[in-house]
């Protein structure tokens, strides 16, 4: 198991190096002049442009820029406007502080949103799926299946404003969404994020209900489930110990694939509910042409996805001994 994690970590580092190179060249090497974008097309004088270029560090040749950028990741680097300690993802000239500091400020919001949202849809999706599979063919199953089909074809940017209008503004069933740090006020944290969680997880819940139902029904037909029944195990034991365990593998697989869309969904959710998380930060960086910030956020998101995938692989090993012992 230790070897397994070590191997995956080394692999992850390699992937991150590649991603960092790709983001670097995507953002710095390809646009004709990022400094011009940052400075403002048409209004920027030649002198101003030179200053911006110097501040951004792009007055140097590209290979040197890349070396400086990469070394910044490991040993930090100094900019004319201030220093950026390792790991330096870049330096934002808009607010004169290292990109990472801003990211870390925004991180708790996004983590609260995504982790909470994921918990909601995993718990609800799996529970609904189990219920539908156990009551297969009944009215309950059919209702849940058709409801989830309708919901899974929804969009967050449609659901979000709708829920906000109906549940908050019209009926005042839920408080206005906001982020309160959990350390300050856990109840406020929970209340403020309840609606964003529900909105973010609705579509996922619908999808995971359908997935969980389908894989469970498949598992219930497995030979080893029949064996369990044939040796006198109670229906509950057969269902949970034998069928359910096997149904987790495809769910974990799909969850691993969905992590990217989860971040995407979080971005829209943050924007919809004016939460100041990483998603919103990314959008702001684009509109403000804050390239170092955008790049930092991208690299950070990549890191999160890679880390999550290690967790996913560890989950496989926990569920299936064949993976563990290979």
């Amino acid at each position: 198991m230790l070897r397994f994690i070590l191997r995956r970590t080394l692999g992850a580092i390699a992937i991150l190096l590649v991603i960092s190179a790709v983001t670097f060249f995507l953002f710095y090497a390809i646009p004709r002049n990022p400094a011009l974008l940052a400075c403002g097309k048409g209004v920027c004088t030649q002198e101003q442009l030179a200053v911006v270029e110097h501040n951004l560090g792009i007055d140097k040749p590209v290979p040197q820029q890349y070396i400086e950028y990469m070394s910044g990741l490991f040993i930090g680097r100094d900019f004319p406007a201030g220093s950026c300690p390792a790991p330096c993802l870049g330096f934002s000239f808009r607010d004169n502080r290292p990109v990472l500091d801003t990211i870390l400020d925004r991180l708790p919001t996004t983590v609260s949103l995504t982790v909470g949202g994921a918990l909601v849809f995993l718990v609800l999706g799996l529970a609904f799926g189990m219920l539908a599979a156990a009551r297969r063919g009944t009215l309950l199953d059919k209702t849940m299946s058709s409801t989830s089909l309708v919901l899974s074809s929804m969009q967050i940017y449609f659901l979000g404003p709708l829920a906000l209008a109906v549940l908050v503004h019209n009926t005042q069933l839920l408080p206005q969404p906001q982020y309160v740090p959990i350390s300050e006020d856990p109840w406020g944290w929970f209340q403020g994020l309840l609606l964003p969680w529900l909105v973010l997880s609705t579509i996922f819940t619908a999808n995971y209900t359908r997935l969980s139902r389908a894989t469970l029904i498949e598992q219930l037909q497995e030979d080893h489930v029949r064996t369990a029944k044939a040796k006198g195990m109670a229906p509950r034991t057969v269902f949970f110990r034998y069928a359910w365990r096997g149904s987790l593998i495809p769910i974990v697989t799909i969850f691993g694939i969905d992590i990217g869309s989860l971040f995407g969904g979080a971005m829209i959710t943050e924007y919809t509910f004016s939460l100041h998380g990483l998603g919103r930060l990314a959008v702001e960086s684009v509109t403000q042409s804050n390239l170092p910030m955008l790049m930092g956020v991208m690299l950070f998101a990549a890191l999160m996805i890679v880390l999550f995938n290690i967790v996913i692989d560890a989950c496989y090993a926990l569920i299936d001994p064949r993976v563990r012992l290979d």
Binding site: H224, T227, K229, M233, P235, I319, D320
Partner: protein, 344 residues
């Protein structure tokens, strides 16, 4: 015999197992009766779709009741099983009646150790502790011939070879000293040398524990090796029954003749072609109203008027014999003159 006096251990009467589908009702088992005696082995032989597995899963109530219609009677000693509540069946399964399945790789869960899976029925039915179950499991693994049982008990099924997995399945079935063991094609997925080991083991264990065995198989050779009595099934019905010696040595049903003469053998003349049964088995959605074998039968024209094999369903005699309209004399002479020479 004393066993005869006390009656059969399992008695199935006019069993019907029907599956309603969108295309109609699949009559997988359609009026099946048989008896199983203590300490004896009943071989049930038939090709795929004959209903042999479906019928035996019905004995233990393994079909999903929502998608199955079962009628008839299944008596296990003095209990009626078709109407028994699920709790009752649960107490029987893996306890008084145990089952072994065809493919030991898929029949064991990949997620739990072999030991845990084998120990489960003992814990459930005997209320044994984890430790007691483990000890008994190790004993049982040793008994079915798994080397280093104390170590292998913690292995997962994929770490076992095919033969060892089937041994583990047998150990699991025997944990609670069942009175009846239903073995559904237990050696079909195995190599021939391993098959021989497993069949030997089953026979040995039967001697030791005195259980009744139902051996479900498509292989007449396996039936011949292990059975006291034989039941031949075709299209959801029994077409012939008797002792193994009678059914295999002096078969009386044209389908049994067909099975025997289409079977390649290790000795005898190879110059002649095998004699297959023409055509394919009937649809179970709309089985023929008369004898199910009539469309493939080469001898139905021997049956004298007014009996018509296509419309009159032949009855299977109670103790032994064939469900066929041919007269006893015709069956004897056709077999002696036309079938037996093919088997040499």
């Amino acid at each position: 015999m004393s066993t005869q006096e006390s009656g059969p251990f399992l008695s199935v009467r006019d069993l019907r197992v029907h599956f309603p589908t969108d295309d109609g009702v699949v009559k997988a088992v359609d009026g099946l009766s048989f008896d199983v005696w203590r300490g004896k082995t009943l071989g049930i032989v038939g090709e795929s779709g004959s209903g042999k597995s479906v019928a035996n899963q019905a004995v233990l109530g393994l079909h999903n009741p929502k998608h199955t219609r079962i009628s008839g009677e299944i008596h296990l000693e003095d209990q009626e099983l078709t109407t028994a509540p699920e709790r009752r069946l649960e107490q029987l399964r893996g306890n008084k009646v145990a089952m072994i399945f065809q493919d030991p790789l898929t029949a064991l869960s990949p997620y739990y150790t072999v030991g845990r899976q084998i120990g489960e029925p003992f814990r459930k039915h005997r209320g044994a502790s984890r430790k007691e179950a483990r000890e008994r499991t190790i004993d049982m693994l040793a008994r079915v011939g798994i080397p280093h049982p104390a170590r292998r008990v913690d292995d997962y099924p994929h770490q076992f070879s095919g033969g060892m997995r089937q041994r583990a399945m047998i150990a699991m079935a025997l944990m609670c000293d069942p009175d009846l063991l239903i073995a559904d094609e237990p050696t079909t997925a195995l190599d021939v040398t391993v098959q021989a080991q497993i069949l030997d083991l089953l026979m040995e264990l039967q001697q030791e524990f005195g259980s009744a065995i139902i051996m479900i198989t498509h292989d007449l050779g396996v039936v011949s090796r292990v059975s006291d009595d034989v039941l031949v099934m075709y299209a959801g019905r029994a077409v012939e029954r008797g002792t193994a010696r009678e059914v295999l040595g002096r078969p009386r049903h044209p389908y049994t003749w067909g099975l025997l003469s289409s079977m390649p053998r290790l000795r005898g003349d190879v110059g002649r072609d095998l004699v297959p049964i023409a055509g394919t088995p009937p649809s179970l959605l709309a089985p023929p109203p008369g004898c199910p074998f009539e469309p493939r039968c080469a001898f139905s024209d021997h049956v004298a008027d007014p009996v018509d094999c296509a419309t009159d369903r032949p009855a299977l005699p109670e103790e032994r014999g064939a469900a066929c309209h041919l007269t006893a004399e015709q069956k004897r002479t056709i077999f002696a003159e036309r079938i037996r020479p093919r088997l040499r």
